[in-house]
């Protein structure tokens, strides 16, 4: 594992954007920063500028106005940037799918393969979001060998 990847896994700075959400998921994201869950112990910080961010947390169903802005934000982020879709609305627009202001869902607004992890829930619990961020970070590393070797030993 290179130094770059290892450092990225240890220090994911997150930027949060709400594409027309009801703010329920946004409140749960703020919960992650509070003492009960505290993602700063994983090195995660909430940053104010998209250029400083390593992970883009997107909530909300994509409506016409905000989908364009989310696409612009993704293009402005300094790569490598993980995108984590949070909540049922960001996954597939949830109950708002047939509304007049909806356009295509998040993974079609952004370039293919941009969205790294989908965290379902309405809203997802902070534990689910933390698991999602950990899975997104683990995707940077190729399949781990040591875990499988241990399993084989247990079988023997």
């Amino acid at each position: 594992m290179g130094v770059k990847v290892r450092a990225l896994m240890k220090s994911p700075w997150v930027f949060h954007v709400s594409a027309g959400s009801c703010n329920n998921c946004d409140i749960e994201i703020l919960d992650c920063l509070c003492p009960r869950f505290d993602i700063e112990r994983f090195g995660a910080l909430l940053v104010g500028s998209i250029r400083h961010a390593d992970a883009l947390l997107v909530t909300g169903a994509m409506n016409r106005k905000s989908a364009r802005r989310v696409r612009q934000l993704y293009e402005q982020a300094a790569k490598p940037c993980l995108v984590i879709a949070i909540g049922a609305c960001a996954l597939g627009q949830g109950i708002f799918r047939d509304s007049y202001s909806m356009v295509q869902p998040l993974d079609e607004v952004l370039p293919p393969g941009a969205v790294t992890v989908y965290v379902p829930g309405c809203p997802p619990r902070p534990e689910a979001m933390i698991v999602g961020v950990v899975k997104a970070l683990n995707q940077l590393v190729p399949a781990k060998q040591p875990v499988e070797a241990k399993k084989e030993q247990a079988d023997e």
Binding site: R64, K65, R68, R71, Y100, M102, V103, Q104
Partner: protein, 157 residues
Amino acid sequence: MNREQVLKQVQNTLGDRVKNLFVKNPRRVYFDVDPGDVVEITRILHKDLGARFCIASGMEMERDFEILYHFGFESEPPEGVLVSARVHLDKDKPAVDSITPGVPAAAWIEREMHELLGIEFRNHPDMRPLLLAEDWPADVCPLRRGKPWEGKVDRRI
């Protein structure tokens, strides 16, 4: 001012322009007004009687359009009364005078009703689109019945 006094004041000041007064429960009062009187009545409610303009709701019903203007008479809790004045508008071309000159707080909600329901407000000082996206066609009113945006709006950006 308690509820009975509010009710009496409303009836006395507005006289017979108040039609179908309906006291649904001690905190909720509804009455109808003619579209021609609405500017005067809302101005009296807001300026003379001192009610706060809360919001206005527009609805498309089966036979006409309705707008309700909600005014709140705020006193020490639990004495608060919400008074709603209802106008009925023509189904084909809904139009009414804007109450914004007398109640400045109504400016944005009238913009929203114009944009989403297609109700025309005469003499509105600043009728710009408020909520919809920049490329939304101006004549499609999304909150009307029957999905009027079908086929007229591109669903991908």
